[in-house]
């Protein structure tokens, strides 16, 4: 690795200033599980690493009165996995985190780093779409909020502009009775396809009031399938289960897979269909078993 300077900051404003003072030659640094790989290869070179791990607010998991769970950008995967508060308020996040990468990466890597890196195979990317998260980003003279569906711009490219710092991610509370399904197909640690389904009860608890279908890892960015969501919403639970195959076909048709080392476009579209169908059935099954 080339030499660099390490600047440890204790506030977000200080960190953003420290980045700009280095004149575009700096990177924010939290866990380093993605950044250091690039720096070791010489693919990225920085004069300064601005360490944001010691900014107290970025290390917090907090819930607001509105039931929103706010996760600081420097919270590690392992804390998301083990946090009792998160297990209660957003159990899907903890459930998915148990299988992210490996325990060493989870001990060190952070949710903010994962999102900013925008690696196409990210579980957090799919979760943020599925749970309709909102990201808060700080620049030199403004703080702005970006919904998850506008956050992912391409492979390794997010809405966080040069010099901006991701502060936290907010996940809205799920309605009582909401059930989720989450399916992955993996080559060792890396998912080559992910499908997530969230089903929310309607006014009549015998109906699915609202459905969210999100997929990832198949293409460059995580995607929602509006056509599958429309097909599942407003149906009885029995109809949702019976319509799983139809919703899966709609998701596959709407998906935009990319060929990579794990398979062709055709193969990945097939995976999207199979995993979406399984995720719908998983969510309905959890409903029947009374689990989140």
């Amino acid at each position: 690795m080339r030499p660099f300077e390490h600047v440890r900051c204790v506030s977000a404003a200080e960190a953003v200033r420290a980045w700009h003072d280095a004149g575009n030659e700096a990177a924010y640094y939290a866990g380093g599980t993605e950044l250091l790989l690039l720096m070791k290869q010489g693919l990225s070179r920085y004069e300064r690493l601005v360490d944001i791990k010691h900014i107290a607010a970025l290390g917090e998991i907090a819930s607001t009165q509105q039931g929103v769970v706010r996760i600081g950008a420097a919270v590690t995967h392992r804390r998301l996995e083990l946090s009792p508060e998160l297990q209660r308020l957003a159990p899907l996040i903890s459930r998915v985190e148990r299988d992210v990468a490996n325990v060493r990466v989870r001990n060190v890597g952070t949710i903010g780093g994962n999102l900013c890196f925008a690696e196409p195979h990210s579980d957090i990317g799919v979760l943020s779409l599925l749970l309709e998260a909102t990201m808060t980003i700080q620049g030199l003279d403004q703080v702005r909020r970006v919904p998850a569906w506008e956050f992912f711009r391409g492979p390794y490219e997010s809405a966080v502009e040069q010099g901006e710092l991701l502060l936290h991610i907010e996940f809205p509370a799920c309605r009582e009775g909401t059930r989720t399904g989450y399916q992955r197909f993996r080559h060792h640690e890396r998912p080559s396809c992910i499908a997530g389904v969230l089903l929310e009860p309607g006014e009549d608890p015998g109906n699915c009031g609202r459905a969210v279908v999100a997929i990832g890892a198949a293409g460059y960015v995580p995607q929602r399938s509006r056509s599958a969501e429309a097909a599942l919403s407003g149906r009885t639970w029995r109809e949702v289960a019976a319509g799983a195959a139809e919703a899966a076909a709609l998701t596959a048709a709407e998906s935009d897979p990319t060929e990579d080392l794990t398979g062709s476009v055709e193969y990945k579209r097939h995976l999207v269909e199979v995993l979406t169908r399984r995720a719908v059935l998983e969510a309905v099954g959890r409903m029947e078993e009374g689990q989140a």
Binding site: P3, L36, L37, E47, N102, R104, V108, E189
Partner: protein, 160 residues
């Protein structure tokens, strides 16, 4: 740029260590090249194989992709710190007794990961062992024997 330098104070296997390092120095290089602790192995170099696993304040990290300055004021444990003189640690002994190693290259990482697992969960089930150890790869295909070794290590550790 001229390399900035900083002072690093940490405890390695219970012993206080003070070094002058550059911010870019990786923990594995400090352990192996500066402190002579060559039990920790570099293999994949991308946080996947687990051969370089060491514990920082009891938590597993990939020392190949972990900056040494992060250890300031903290406790680092490596494979060299486990045995008590000539007496192997119960986890080491279990790996020997149950053929949990063949070529031995992955073993320091396997044993340090097992240490962290058992500190966190003294009586893990087989699925829990497999989930925790998924990030440690053995190319001699010895996983059955490794899981058996860990089960015996858990029993021995509980007894001692």
């Amino acid at each position: 740029m001229k390399a900035p330098r900083l002072e690093l104070h940490m405890r390695v296997n219970g012993r206080a260590v003070a070094l002058e390092i550059e911010p870019r120095e990786l923990l594995i290089d400090v352990l192996r090249n500066r402190l002579g602790l060559t039990g920790t192995k570099k293999s994949c170099d991308v946080e996947v194989c687990g051969a370089c696993t060491v514990l920082v304040d009891g938590k597993t990290v990939s020392s190949c992709t972990y900056l040494a300055f992060e250890c300031e004021g903290r406790d680092v444990q490596t494979i060299e710190g486990l045995a008590d003189g000539e007496t192997l640690h119960p986890i080491q002994q279990a790996f020997v007794d149950h053929q949990g190693l063949q070529c031995g290259f992955c073993t320091p990482g396997m044993i340090m990961a097992t240490k962290a697992l058992l500190d966190e969960n003294p009586d893990p089930s087989v699925p829990e062992i497999k989930a925790y150890m998924r990030g440690n790869i053995c190319r001699c295909t010895g996983y059955h024997a490794i899981v058996t070794s860990i089960q015996h290590a858990a029993r021995e550790t509980a007894r001692s």
